[in-house]
Amino acid sequence: MIRFTQASVTYPGGVTALDDISLDIPDGQFVVIVGLSGAGKSTLIRTVNGLVPLAGGTVHVGEREVGGLSRRQLRSLRADAGMIFQHYNLVNRTTVLNNVLMGRLNRVPGWRSMLGWWGRDEVERAMRALEIVEIVDKAYVRAANLSGGQQQRVGIARALAQEPTVLLADEPVASLDPPTSRTVMRYLQKANRDLGITTLVNLHFLDLAREYADRIIGLRAGKLVFDGPGSAVDEGVFEQIYGRSLTADDVLEAEATL
């Protein structure tokens, strides 16, 4: 269970990115967060693993309150929450396997990881993560030599290698073309269904959100403006979230329908 209680975030300069958000996300749910860019989607997701500190309120992940953890505890919380990024955030110059092993850093003794001595067990776990996104044959290829979709699958594998209980995906398909976007969404769905991982995904496109989400959360200017199942999203809800009516730019496929 992830619980937001009156959570607020203010950035230096006084911009309020999140304003009094209260939410309960039960274990195993697939939640998609939609909203305009700048609405606070990325901020919301980053409060879960403490990459962005709260200005007010609390966020609980299970029993742990994110703001009240020591450094070591925070690292351990982050290890339990895999993160996926819009620009994949892979180290291009090194191999796919090394990138995925980054997901194991919190699980091995510090001195051993610093020397790069990964045990067979760690490598095997990384390989299994790659197997889930069906890209294990590229394990020893340089990340730079993969296509965007393949890089994002490696990004998912890196998160899964953490053996997390929560997945946080920040605009995971915003840099990809429509067919590849669906492939990546399907892998996220697979991780959610097969492994029972609570999944929070930021998306720009509403149709993709409706297709994959158990539950959609709409943010506008840092405020919660919608919370409900995908089927409840109609023109009215859309205007609430985006502040205008639907156009072709707002959906992944060409037709502007919901």
């Binding site: 299994r128 590229k138 020893y140």
Partner: protein, 282 residues
């Protein structure tokens, strides 16, 4: 299903899993072996009398103590005077090098000059680049006598190679469009260089002159060690005659002036590369 049970099922499923074979990184192995072997080979074979190494930190501490323990402000005017001479040597030397290298750079740039000119000029530029300033200086002292002139010419000659090569590379990197336009407009080769190439490359080349000036200050600060003018003479003599306090003062002046000029010159360089700021609106 218990935890161990899940593990067992997972193990079952992955037992026959295909794993790609780890390719062997020959490049890394070669580099590692070369570095380790090179280091060991060199350190074991060199006649350095390593038994003195443990004394180094103590001795150095001792010397620094003597140098900075009782600094005498009376040494300051001397140190500033000689440092100013070093700065002058570096500046005039850089100007000589800029003047000499400027035409050579165009002769060495592939997009401006012919093949023969490029090959010959590049070889010509390579020679002064490889010879350190001090060697030039010791060869010039019998000609010009002890003093700053030998140092200035030494700096000028030795920087000509570096500045020439880099300026040529900057010219080669310039945008081809304007050259084509000038060519299409019927411009002659010199006109082309003057109006299509130079406006593009001048800021970068001037910035590099300034950078070289910073480098040359370090060089000119030591030229005095062989008698070619500047603060090096003061440093060398005060260390040789164990007048530690004045050596300390000279060292402080060298370090401070070098850092200050680095900062000032760096700021000007960034300004030149960025171009003049648009006039402030009032």
């Amino acid at each position: 299903m218990s935890g161990t049970e899940t593990q067992r099922v997972a193990d079952e499923r992955f037992r026959d899993a295909v794993r790609p074979e780890k390719p062997f990184n020959w490049f890394r192995l070669t580099v590692t072996v070369a570095v380790v072997a090179g280091f060991l080979g060199a350190s074991l074979s060199v006649d350095a009398r390593w038994e003195r190494l443990p004394e180094v930190p103590g001795e150095l501490w001792n010397i620094f103590g003597l140098m900075f323990g009782d600094l005498d402000l009376a040494d300051l005017p001397d140190a500033l005077d000689s440092m100013w001479e070093s700065v002058g040597i570096a500046w005039i030397g850089t100007m000589i090098a800029a003047a000499l290298s400027f035409p050579l750079a165009f002769l060495a740039a592939r997009n401006v000059s012919g093949r023969v000119s490029v090959v010959v000029t590049r070889q010509l530029l390579n020679i002064p680049r490889a010879i350190p300033e001090i060697i030039f200086a010791v060869a010039l002292i019998p000609i010009f006598g002890l003093g700053p002139l030998a140092g200035t010419v030494a700096i000028g000659l030795s920087s000509t190679g570096t500045i020439g090569k880099l300026s040529a590379e900057i010219i080669e990197g310039c945008d081809h469009g304007p050259m084509e336009a000038a060519d299409a407009a019927g411009g002659s080769k010199p006109q082309l260089v003057r109006w299509a190439v130079m406006p593009q490359v001048m800021p970068e080349i001037i910035a590099f002159w300034l950078y070289r000036f910073e480098v040359n200050i370090r060089a000119s600060a030591v030229l005095g060690v062989v008698g070619a003018g500047g603060i090096g003479t003061m440093l060398q003599q005060s260390i040789e005659f164990r007048q530690w306090a004045s050596a300390g003062m000279a060292l402080i002046v060298v370090v401070l002036v070098t850092i200050l000029i680095d900062m000032a010159s760096g700021a000007i360089r960034r300004r030149i590369i960025r171009g003049p700021r648009p006039a402030a609106q009032t």
